[in-house]
């Protein structure tokens, strides 16, 4: 196989997913991948306080924005493949929310691209989390200043996405 096109998988779905199966799907049939990084983000609870995390999303834009970020990552790190799956709807503690898989020739590109994708997903993909607490209360999760700061290092290193 020579100069095959990069594989790209983007999914926004309510159903749970299997990140190992996603990585297998991305690498299926390819012999040119030397490194793969799989990042999985889970719904975390602290001391039984969280009953359900509800993820609202902007249908259409969520897929498009993740697609734009994936294309940017492929181009910037010459990735062989990229896969992003992001869930919406009710998610319980312990369940997976998001998975990013990056595939490249050598490990550094895969590590960096996965980190870049997660930093941008947090601040640029149109999803909003609402916590439904075990005591019956609920509250929208506030954006973290540290997430904005995390994006700055990608900007500082010379790359700015078109819409920023």
């Amino acid at each position: 196989m020579t100069a095959a096109h990069p594989s790209k998988i983007v999914r926004v779905q309510e159903e749970p997913f299997d990140s190992a199966a996603l990585a297998a799907e991305l690498s299926a049939g390819r012999t040119d991948i030397g490194a793969m990084v799989t990042f999985t983000g889970l719904c975390r609870d602290e001391n039984g306080a969280l009953a359900v995390l509800e993820l609202e999303h902007y249908p259409g834009m969520a897929e498009e924005e993740i697609g734009r970020l994936a294309t940017e990552a492929v181009s910037r790190w010459s990735l062989i493949g990229v896969a992003v799956v992001h869930r919406f709807g009710p998610i319980r503690p312990g369940e997976m929310i998001v998975a990013v898989v990056t595939a490249s020739v050598h490990r550094q590109a895969a590590f960096e691209a996965a980190s870049f994708l997660m930093d941008y997903l947090k601040t640029s993909a149109p999803f909003w989390k609402k916590e439904h607490r075990a005591d019956g209360g609920d509250a929208w999760v506030e954006a973290r200043a540290t997430d904005e700061k995390a994006m700055d290092r990608w900007r500082a290193s010379g790359q700015v996405l078109p819409h920023k």
Partner: protein
């Protein structure tokens, strides 16, 4: 100006009371910031939703925009809080 679809998410949707509407923008409303100012005057829910216009984000036809982004040609304009996915 043509009719546009306005969409609201998360706590903006809750404060305004609905997630979607169509509107005919009056002449003189040409940027995102001008649209926000106009929306703030439409009622109590809108005023609360846009009380801190600096933190509200907007997308035009599913692409992130800035306060000075022109609305010309827009079909779908969405407003939402800072994103908290991932």
């Amino acid at each position: 100006m043509a009719e546009v679809k306005l969409i609201y998410f998360a706590w903006l949707r809750e404060r305004i009371g609905h997630g979607e509407e169509t509107a005919v923008l009056p002449p003189g409303i040409t940027t995102v910031a001008e649209l926000v100012s106009w929306l703030r005057g439409r009622g109590e829910g809108y005023a609360r939703a846009f009380a801190q216009p600096d933190i509200v984000r907007a997308a035009i036809d599913r692409r992130h925009s800035r306060p000075d982004t022109p609305l010309a040609g827009a079909r779908e304009i969405a407003f939402f809080p800072p994103m908290t996915g991932g």
